[in-house]
């Protein structure tokens, strides 16, 4: 028991190190990309006819001084104190921009997943318990059709039908989650001891909740962690096309406007949330793992 707890602690520490390393590397990669992007050193203030040649030269000099590593080090120092700098595009503190918008994305993604997960579980439970080929084919065909439509198209259609943005996110993540959930539950259902229990006359519902779900739980929890990444990916085109003022739309605006501090901050934020969600899911799976053996 003691060694198990120690292994779990080691795993948690190792994952934290990976999260921190991934954060630093992804932030630096993003900063490098933006810094060397064509036109990144050009300031639109240079086009202002009221500015004298001396002022324009000063603006150009200020950009020349912005060395990548220097920018990144200064940025990290500020970030540790909670200051993320100012956005070049919005001319506002980044922390305020994020504060204003994070709740919209959290609501969109949270509601989207809250709609998608119960539907996915209900359909997958029904499908696995009944074991009807026609039903399985119908659900698979529906999931396949939904998977064949880009998230942006779903966003457009949902916006046209005046449904909330979270509905578009739910429709986009639903087929992905369904396919994995169905496969995980189905492979658990086909294990020999489950077949034995079924042949002894134990009810299907009892088998599902006491034997199948408990075996599949670690993988389903891991999938729940991954579903945040899937939902955020889907949120980018959905928020842009349905004009929902969330973080995903801000990320798009920052990328289009080549707003270096904002891109780095959003990248770090998204990476943190994704890695934390994945790490939490993996740790929970590991905690559940030994009890299933």
């Amino acid at each position: 028991m003691f060694s198990y707890k120690r292994t779990l602690l080691n795993s948690a520490v190792w994952r934290l190190i990976i999260v921190a390393a991934s954060l630093l590397v992804s932030g630096l990669v993003c900063a490098t990309l933006v810094r060397f992007a064509p036109g990144s050193s050009v300031d639109e203030r240079e086009l202002d006819p009221r500015l004298s040649s001396g002022s324009i030269a000063a603006i150009r000099r200020s950009h020349e001084k912005q060395n990548l590593l220097h920018f990144y080090a200064t940025y990290l120092k500020g970030a540790l104190r909670g200051h993320f700098g100012n956005s070049d595009v919005f001319q506002q503190p980044i922390s305020k921009l994020i504060q204003d918008r994070w709740s919209t994305t959290a609501e969109n993604i949270g509601l989207g997943l809250a709609i998608a997960w119960p539907v996915v579980l209900a359909i997958a439970f029904l499908n696995v318990t009944l074991q009807r080929k026609v039903l399985d084919m119908a659900f698979s065909a529906l999931a396949g059709t939904l998977l064949s439509i880009p998230a942006a198209v779903v966003a457009l259609l949902v916006a046209m039908s005046h449904k909330p943005t979270s509905f578009a996110i739910a429709i986009t993540v639903l087929p992905i989650l369904y396919r994995y959930t169905r496969n995980v539950l189905d492979s658990s259902w086909k294990r020999p001891w489950i077949m034995a229990a079924y042949s002894r006359g134990i009810g299907r519902v009892r088998i599902l909740f006491f034997h199948v779900v408990t075996v599949a739980a670690p993988q389903l929890i891991a999938l729940a962690g991954v579903s945040f990444t899937v939902a955020f990916s889907a949120a980018v085109p959905i928020e842009v096309l349905s004009d929902s003022p969330g973080l995903a739309q801000l990320a798009w605006q920052a990328a289009i406007g080549r707003d270096l501090p904002l891109v780095v901050t959003i990248t770090a934020l998204v990476t943190t949330i994704t890695l934390m969600a994945n790490a939490a899911a993996t740790l929970m799976s590991e905690m559940l793992g030994p009890t299933q053996a």
Partner: protein, 268 residues
């Protein structure tokens, strides 16, 4: 299952042949503007009507489909090649190489893919010629889409590395190069083939998403995403169902590819 697969391949073949023969089915071409017929409804002359600049929607749809169906497999080949390279090196050498590769893959996978794609695409020049932009868009898909495949390849190579036949080959003095070329690559080929097929629909959808966000194939070249985004301007589609043709073609292509991919995976 065989029937479904045959139908899917048939649908793909019909769409592909139609898109290749664009100049036969729509001789006016995708760029010609019929200024006297802007926004015209479907007719015998323009099967899907014209857009606001008077361009033949059917010709544009055929060209857009051709772009997607030719370049998405090219991007998938590039990403599979990269994944094979990284995954094979990591899995075959093991130890520190494998750990480093896994960290790199984790960093790649920790960012939502579409967000990464948008960021990197936006960093590249947006004032390039349209044809160069098309190539860049798909090249980017190929360059950024290798991570998940590399992980699968690495796991496959790792299991083959410790298999009995590899140990035998090593014991007989087979060189590492020969081991990779003769023993390893043929054995991971089915995995690579499956990953290649998985990537094609993913890249077609990603291009459509990018084009809809204004970061994919630029005007005047048509793309499926570019054609679909025109729907944004129409509040009532029920009376103009033909405008949904690009969505239908996209869904048909991706759906058929997914069926082919699913059957291929089942065979493996």
């Amino acid at each position: 299952m065989k029937l479904v697969s045959t139908i899917a391949i048939g649908v793909l073949a019909i769409i592909f042949v139609c898109s290749l023969g664009g100049s036969v089915f729509a001789p006016a071409g995708h760029a010609k503007q019929f200024r006297e017929n802007p926004n015209s409804p479907p007719s015998s002359r323009f099967l899907l009507g014209t857009d606001e600049l008077g361009r033949d929607r059917f010709a544009r749809l055929l060209f857009a489909t051709r772009v997607s169906l030719l370049l998405a497999p090219a991007a998938a080949a590039l990403s599979t090649l990269l994944a094979a390279l990284v995954g094979t090196v990591a899995g075959f050498l093991g130890g520190l190489w494998e750990k480093l590769s896994m960290v790199a893959i984790d960093v790649f996978l920790s960012l939502p893919w579409l967000f990464l794609l948008i960021t990197v695409r936006a960093m590249l020049p947006l004032n390039l010629s349209p044809s160069l932009s098309v190539v860049i868009t798909f090249a980017l898909l190929g360059l950024l889409g290798w991570a998940a495949t590399a992980r699968v390849v690495c796991a496959g190579v790792r299991s083959i590395r410790s298999s009995t036949f590899m140990l035998n080959a090593r014991a007989f003095g087979c060189s590492p190069q020969r081991l990779v070329a003769i023993q390893l690559i043929p054995n991971i080929r089915p995995v690579l083939q499956a990953q290649f097929l998985v990537s094609i629909p993913t890249f077609i959808l990603a291009e459509a998403n990018l084009s809809m966000l204004g970061l994919g194939v630029p005007e005047p070249l048509p793309s499926l995403g570019g054609l679909i985004v025109e729907l944004e301007n129409f509040s009532t589609l029920s009376s103009q169902l033909w405008r949904l043709a690009p969505v239908a073609v996209l869904a048909l292509c991706v759906g058929a590819l997914q069926i082919v991919k699913g059957i291929n995976e089942a065979q493996i």
